[in-house]
């Protein structure tokens, strides 16, 4: 402990102290005051399930920070590497089975490395009817302020090229590894033809972002109720996870109305929720949601298109 260093007087200067946000990326907006968003069939809830297919390289550098799920022991960290890979070999198929039985589509957020390394996995997701969205090159390519613009543009282009070729889909959605961005990420995503980004956890609904390359949209994709946060980070039980999903859904449902829908987004990590002793919690939560009236299970692109239609 030492006496703090003195601060320059401009530490008390506030050039961005003004109405709205302290940046121009999106406008300040109060959720309860927005115009209603009608969902197809007058549904009250759009149910959006987003499993992430991740590859954590054994020799990962974890720069400029350790992403959630990173290797932890001295090299070679076989235990964490292989447990993450469990999700791609076993866990995801358990999830797809749960979703198939309930007629729920999904948007799978895929590292380009997963698509290249395990082509049959990507094909299985496409055959299931999943929307493929991009999740960066792999979990050790973190987008951050220290990247050059050229390098980040190259990472985005390579990611989208691999995933678009492998899936035959336009790949409209993007989730950055660890939700980490540079100041330019949204500009570069829009430039590469991405329509929506899942990194911003500031809303329950889609909203419009401003980029130098045209429109981009933020989709709600909360970390609070994802399986990694609740089960791995917080060490809660499977029943706690189920209850969190149900409580989240019930609250959003109460705030919704026919003609004014809400989005229930569920972020999943197959190596976490796909374990035999955990998967039942997801089933119970989904069964609760589907027992309610007016629940529309959809992909991210379908939900965003419904939101866009309601803005006119």
């Amino acid at each position: 402990m030492s006496t703090p260093q003195l601060l320059p007087d401009d530490y008390l200067a506030y050039p961005l102290r003004r109405y709205g946000m302290d940046h121009n990326r999106y406008d300040w907006s109060i959720l309860p005051e927005r115009q209603p968003v009608a969902l197809p069939g007058d549904a009250r809830m759009a149910l959006w399930v987003v499993p992430a297919l991740e590859w954590f390289p054994l020799d990962m550098k974890s720069q400029p920070f350790k992403p959630p799920g990173a290797m932890q022991t001295a090299y070679p960290d076989l235990r964490h590497y292989t447990l993450r890979d469990y999700g791609n070999r076993v866990g995801i198929f358990r999830i797809l089975d749960v979703l198939s039985k309930r007629g729920i589509p999904a948007s799978v957020a895929v590292n380009a490395a997963v698509a290249s390394r395990y082509p049959s996995l990507l094909k299985a997701c496409v055959d299931h009817g999943c929307e493929v969205i991009a999740n960066g090159l792999d979990m050790d390519h973190l987008h951050h302020g220290g990247l050059s613009e050229a390098e980040e543009r190259d990472w985005i282009a390579r990611t989208l090229q691999v995933l678009r070729e492998a899936s035959g889909q336009p790949v409209r959605g993007w989730l950055s590894p660890a939700k980490s961005e540079s100041l330019l990420t949204p500009d570069l995503l829009a430039e590469a033809g991405v329509d929506y980004v899942c990194d911003w956890v500031n809303d329950d609904m889609p909203y419009a972002m401003r980029t130098r390359s045209g429109p981009l949209h933020a989709m709600p994709h909360p970390v609070d109720i994802d399986d990694y946060t609740i089960l791995v980070q917080n060490h809660h039980t499977e029943d706690d996870f189920r209850d969190a999903l149900i409580d989240q859904f019930d609250q959003l449902y109460r705030e919704s109305a026919p003609g004014n829908g809400r989005v229930m987004a569920i972020s999943l990590h197959p190596w976490v929720i796909g374990q035999p002793y955990r998967i039942g919690a997801l089933e119970e939560a989904l069964d609760h949601m589907q027992s309610q009236h007016g629940v529309w299970a959809a992909t991210g692109s379908q939900i965003l298109d419904a939101w866009k239609a309601a803005q006119r």
Partner: protein
């Protein structure tokens, strides 16, 4: 640097003047929503990084922003349904950034006290002149936007200098929420003015409960009820204080709000509870008990 902050003498819980709250209440209960603005790219304070990730920390910035766009409005509804006024711990730049939030609080008769300018500007390393300027900014901004006189202080992000308590007392504030040494109010020793510490409680604070202790929403409701039950029982002998410090980005998450409202409804449903604001508690204590508490306190001995 000092080995003891020197803000208070020793006054044991079992041997101090008896507090009686208005109308025979056993507990003075107050709720302090922290209405905050975190900057995306604040200037660097060498004593503390604003964000855990390199700039821009999109994840953590957006998480805080959720509180203003969504969570606050959910919390506001819960408070209204329970007939509970808030005492807003305010980053005063919110008055410029999001005046709609300020107006909504003012419309419900909530108190505003200062939590600094931004939650990303820290007091450590400030000169006395700089720190005075920050406090004056809070006094002026709250007056201008709400018409209220600033009475209370919770330092931004709990950051201080050795002078903070002296300066807020000297500049006319009457209470601080920064000291966690008691379940009753108590005098704060300052070089000029009359200052009271009122219990704020990190134990009940949703940041500590959710971000540090990582408990479930149902468990948080249980913690709140247990805390209240014991303070309510003890308050029969001498009035106690219970505070719930909140952050709309945390308690206002969809899966958390119902459990919180259930606990709030439980607490506010008791008959011998005073649903107060920070200012009201400080005023009652300052008028009736401040000097008696100061006189009863025992000087602290020298460490060997």
């Amino acid at each position: 640097m000092k080995s003891d902050p020197g803000f208070y003498d020793y006054l044991p819980y079992n041997d101090r003047p008896v507090i009686r709250w208005p109308n025979g209440a056993r507990v003075a209960f107050w709720v302090a929503p922290n209405v905050e603005f975190y900057e995306l790219a604040p200037p660097r304070n060498p004593a503390r990084a604003a964000w855990s990730r390199p700039t821009p920390d999109v994840l953590n910035y957006a998480y805080r922003d959720y509180g203003n766009r969504v969570g606050f409005w959910r919390l506001l509804d819960s408070m209204k349904r329970c007939g509970m006024r808030g005492s807003v711990s305010l980053n005063v730049a919110m008055c410029e950034h999001h005046p709609e939030v300020i107006r909504a609080c003012a419309d419900e008769g909530w108190e505003f006290y200062s939590h600094g300018t931004y939650n990303t500007r820290y007091l450590m390393g400030m000169t006395e002149a700089q720190e005075r300027a920050v406090i004056q900014d809070s006094i002026d901004t709250i007056k201008k936007h709400t018409g209220q006189k600033l009475d209370g202080w919770l330092a931004p992000a709990l950051t201080y200098t050795d002078r903070t308590m002296d300066l807020v007392a000297e500049m006319g504030l009457s209470y601080v929420c920064d000291l966690f040494h008691d379940d009753q109010p108590g005098p704060v020793k300052v070089r000029q003015g009359k200052l009271t510490s009122i219990p704020y409680s990190l134990e009940m604070n949703d940041v500590i409960v959710y971000n540090v202790n990582q408990v479930s929403p149902r468990r948080y409701a249980d913690i709140l009820k247990r805390q209240f039950d014991r303070l309510y029982a003890e308050g029969e002998k001498s009035g106690t204080v219970m505070c719930i410090p909140l952050h709309p980005y945390l308690v206002g998450q969809p899966y958390r709000i119902a459990a919180f409202e259930e606990a709030l409804s439980y607490i506010t449903g008791h008959d011998k509870v005073w649903l107060a604001t920070g200012r009201e508690i400080a005023q009652h204590f300052n008028t009736h008990y401040h000097d008696a508490f100061a006189a009863a306190a025992q000087p602290v001995g020298e460490a060997p």
